[in-house]
């Protein structure tokens, strides 16, 4: 197992190399002059422009720029943005916001999604089951930005239950955006749990558990649930990785100073170092959580072993 994990971690190196280059090339290919975007309408002397271009290696060809970037990267230097702030500093400051948002969202997914899924799974065909079915279809069909604005308008503005912008109220500020961010996955977790439970209830070992004279709560709560939750837990693991890597729309709607909004602004203003740094971090997080999921799989299902 240890060797498997080590090998998987080593494999992330070429993936990260390739992906940073791709992002780098895409930022390079973006139309527009980042320095012009930086100065805006102000008049600025050509010598200052030349100086800035030189400082950020903007005159070099792509591969030279990339090599210089990598050179800094291996020394632990993620570079700076055009106002001289280090990218590492920005990430350190913004990441906790994204992390909190992701934690709130994953808790919503796990709690609401699992409960809804389990209840509709054990009462297949009931009113509740159909209610879950209809509401999940409904939720899945609404784009996040619509749901976000609706929640902001109704729960935040009209009813005044939640703050609608910023993070001034601590964890409480994250509840509404976290819920909005989670909705799609709540629906997915509920459906996945239900399907998995219904499928597993048909298995022979459930019949065996009943024939052993186990009480129904043991038959379902222990024997069936343990098997049914394997795909759900692994989905939640992978989804946590996805949540951490960019809730651009949600952070935008609720004005949260997290990594998603930062990378969005960085793309708009052609901040190459910021964009590449943050997106690379996203990719690393995503790969890492995929590895976590694979390890989790083996822990949950004894039939799966990695060499």
């Amino acid at each position: 197992m240890g060797r498997y994990i080590a090998r998987r971690l080593l494999l992330t190196i070429p993936v990260l190399l390739g992906s940073t280059f791709l992002i780098f090339a895409m930022v390079y290919a973006l139309p527009g002059d980042p320095i012009a975007a930086l100065v805006g309408d102000r008049r600025i002397s050509p010598s200052v422009v030349a100086e800035l271009k030189d400082r950020y290696n903007l005159n070099d060809p792509l591969h030279v720029q990339y090599a210089k970037y990598l050179g800094g990267l291996v020394q632990g230097d993620l570079g700076t943005d055009f106002s001289g702030r280090s990218v590492a500093g920005t990430v350190k400051e913004r990441f906790p916001v994204t992390l909190k948002l992701a934690i709130v969202a994953i808790v919503f997914e796990a709690v609401i999604g699992l409960i809804a899924g389990i209840l509709s799974g054990i009462r297949k065909g009931s009113f509740f089951d159909n209610l879950v079915l209809v509401s999940t279809i409904f939720v899945v069909s609404i784009p996040v930005f619509v749901l976000g604005f609706l929640a902001q308008l109704s729960l935040g503005l009209k009813l005044g239950l939640f703050p609608i912008s910023g993070i001034s109220e601590g964890w409480y500020s994250y509840l509404l955006p976290g819920f909005v961010l989670a909705t799609l996955s709540i629906a997915y977790v509920a459906r996945l749990t239900r399907t998995s439970l219904v499928e597993n209830l048909r298995n022979d070992y459930v019949r065996t558990a009943k024939a052993k004279g186990l009480p129904p709560r043991t038959v379902i709560g222990k024997h069936t649930m343990r098997n049914s939750l394997i795909p759900v837990v692994t989905f939640l693991g992978a989804d946590f990785g996805a949540l951490l890597s960019g809730a651009i729309v949600t952070e935008g709607i609720f004005n949260l100073p997290g990594l998603g909004r930062t990378v969005y602004q960085a793309v708009l203003s052609g901040e190459g170092a910021v964009t590449v740094g943050i997106v690379t971090l996203f990719i690393f997080i995503y790969i890492f959580f995929n590895l976590v999921v694979d390890v989790l799989y083996a822990a949950l299902d004894p039939r799966i072993r990695y060499e």
């Binding site: 298995n203 022979d204 070992y205 019949r207 065996t208 558990a209 009943k210 024939a211 052993k212 004279g213 186990l214 009480p215 043991t218 024997h223 343990r226 098997n227 394997i230 949950l300 299902d301 004894p302 039939r303």
Partner: protein
Amino acid sequence: MTVTAPSDSLHPTVPGAHLLEVEDLSVEFRTEYGTVRAVNELSYHLDRGETLAILGESGSGKSVSAQAIMGIIDTPPGFITSGEIRYQGRDILQMPKEEQRAMRGAEIAIVFQDALSALNPVFTVGAQIAEMFRVHRGTSKKEAMVHAGELMDKVRIPSAKDRLKDYPHQFSGGMRQRVMMAMALALDPKILIADEPTTALDVTVQAQIMDLLLELQADNGMGLILITHDLGVVGEVADRVAVMYAGRIVETGGINEVFGNPGHPYTVGLMNSVPRVDQRGMRLSPIVGAPPNLADIPPGCSFHPRCPRAEVRCREERPLLREVVLGRRSACHFAEEVLDV
């Protein structure tokens, strides 16, 4: 006592005369495609230490009747529509749910066909056996595991104590079936139902498992219901046999008598479709046609569309299971003529 409407009731005896008495049991499954009558007015009994073989093709209702006894039919879609299942004189179907559950596994236990799917893949075999003691007797985890080890020893799993912590997929097919048996026998049940216990196994392993089953039966004197479609197995181990077709018993009697001189055309057909060493080179004569759709059982004798000696009467009048020779019953209008063949 007045005489009730004629039924297939096999042994209208005093309730409680036998260890297990199944009387007029009917089970149906209500599906979207219609009502499937899986078991129809089934009656049989079982004594201590006795082996009753229930023989029949797939879909003859033999497994469903076993599941009805175990109380593990899912309702819906399955419904027990009539009958009694008396264990030591008491009707299981009338017992409170908690009492029924407490009996399951402890008094009446079952071994299923495919042990790989019948065992839970994510729990160790030790834990799955130990669960019997923990749930029924409230034994401590540690002590239950010790018992589990002893049981695995008893069913002759090599180095049993080291394998307690192994998972089902780490065992071979035969060993898994032994684990199933250890689990079923954990609480010394008085009745063991073996539902095609050897069908999924290699022939050599089949014999070992059957031998073990019989040995364990002799050990604690339990009644054994052996559900199978394997005539060879039945001939070797059973005391009595009940042949099922379309959810009914069509013939029953002592094993040697029934096999030596079958009294129902279906039994005759079954015997003729088995290859025999003393008739090498001869063609097998399978029963023509297919078993009936249980959602649409033919009127009259349900076997008549496939029966070589069917007459008009067979299409119209359902033959009752009646005593044709002392201790032998057949549900055929022409049982006497079949017997003479």
